[in-house]
């Protein structure tokens, strides 16, 4: 199966990139598109300013961005993300219900915790959000 839910990232230099498109297309055996993006960001001293998930049928799931021109005032009245990250989660059960679950997760990092958005990798009809508070030291 080909993943239907993929990341899209905007950078501090104004560029926007999409997983599985252009220079970040899937190439068998090569570094993952996300690994390539992280390398590009590091080499060019850039930051991710917004991160979300897109699908080929034009659905979009967006985290709050760290940009300066939000469409609604509420976004400018509250803390902006400090940084962003993405990972995919996979799990499989055996010797019982043979469930395999695959998600793409985009995460906005704040001073007091992280906001995660989970979307199934192969069936982007649902989305779950969770806020994980940072443990106090």
């Amino acid at each position: 199966m080909t993943p239907k839910s993929k990341w899209k990232a905007s950078l501090s230099n104004g560029e926007t990139f999409y997983e599985d498109k252009g220079v970040y297309a899937f190439v068998l055996g090569e570094k993952s598109p996300w690994q390539k993006l992280l390398l590009y960001i590091k080499d060019n001293n850039l930051q991710i300013t917004s991160l979300g998930i897109y699908t080929d049928d034009n659905r979009a799931f967006n985290l709050p961005s760290s940009g300066n021109n939000p469409k609604f005032s509420i976004f400018s009245q509250h803390a902006k993300p400090i940084s962003f990250t993405m990972f995919k989660a996979s799990a499989i059960s055996v010797s019982g219900p043979n469930d395999e679950e695959n998600f793409i997760v985009v995460e906005a990092n704040y001073e007091d915790g992280n906001l995660q958005m989970w979307v199934p990798l192969y069936n982007p009809d649902n989305c779950w959000c969770i806020f994980t508070k940072k443990k106090e030291s």
């Binding site: 199966m1 080909t2 993943p3 899937f26 190439v27 068998l28 055996g29 090569e30 570094k31 993952s32 598109p33 996300w34 690994q35 993405m86 990972f87 995919k88 989660a89 996979s90 799990a91 499989i92 059960s93 055996v94 010797s95 019982g96 219900p97 043979n98 395999e100 695959n102 997760v105 990798l121």
Partner: protein, 183 residues
């Protein structure tokens, strides 16, 4: 695409297919384990039907809990170290692969009953990843064996030693689960 392959290792590995189950037994296929003792054999129950041992001709490995720091992989009691058991002596080999080269993190392995937070009912389940020097009571997600992070690659192997003991008489069934994150 992310792909999982579970195998019961032996002279030849036996793949645990979607409809199969991993059987912990008392020495032969479908044999009972005495209450409060640990498995003397492991098998792959084809289609979870109890009639065909898919691993029968592959001399499957068995891992038996002896103590919190000891294991029997077929040659008597040995102490868990960074190299004991060897990867080839771990009963379970779990492979995760992706078409792209990805790093893996937050790996976990455990047994559960109905939901992933439930400990398996009626059994004591222990496991560890190769190089662990103690067993883990891997019952329920919160108590799972933490799998080592792995650097970027298209294929990742996890070697697991695992053992089960019935707390009471009667057949027991439970589910095994592996999960991780990757990017």
């Amino acid at each position: 695409m992310a792909t999982w392959i579970w195998q019961l290792q032996g002279t030849t590995p036996t793949t645990i297919d979607a409809a199969d189950s991993l059987q912990f037994a008392g020495g032969t296929f479908n044999s009972a384990i005495t209450v409060a003792t640990y498995n003397a054999s492991m098998h792959v129950d084809q289609n979870n039907g109890g009639s065909v041992d898919d691993a029968a001709s592959n001399t499957p490995k068995n891992n038996k809990w002896i103590s919190s720091t000891q294991i029997d992989v077929g040659g008597g009691t040995v102490t868990l170290t960074g190299s004991v058991p060897a990867t080839t002596d771990c009963a379970l080999k779990i492979n995760f692969s992706d078409g792209a080269s990805v790093a893996t993190t937050n790996g976990k392995f455990y047994a559960y009953q109905t939901t992933t937070s439930d400990a398996p009912t009626g059994i004591t389940f222990k496991a560890g990843e190769q190089s662990d020097t103690t067993w883990t009571d891997a019952e329920g997600a919160a108590a799972g064996v933490t799998l080592n992070d792995d650097s970027a690659a298209t294929s990742h192997d996890y070697f697991i030693f695992t053992s089960a003991s019935p707390d009471s008489v009667g057949a027991k069934s439970f589910t095994l689960r592996a999960e991780l994150t990757y990017s």
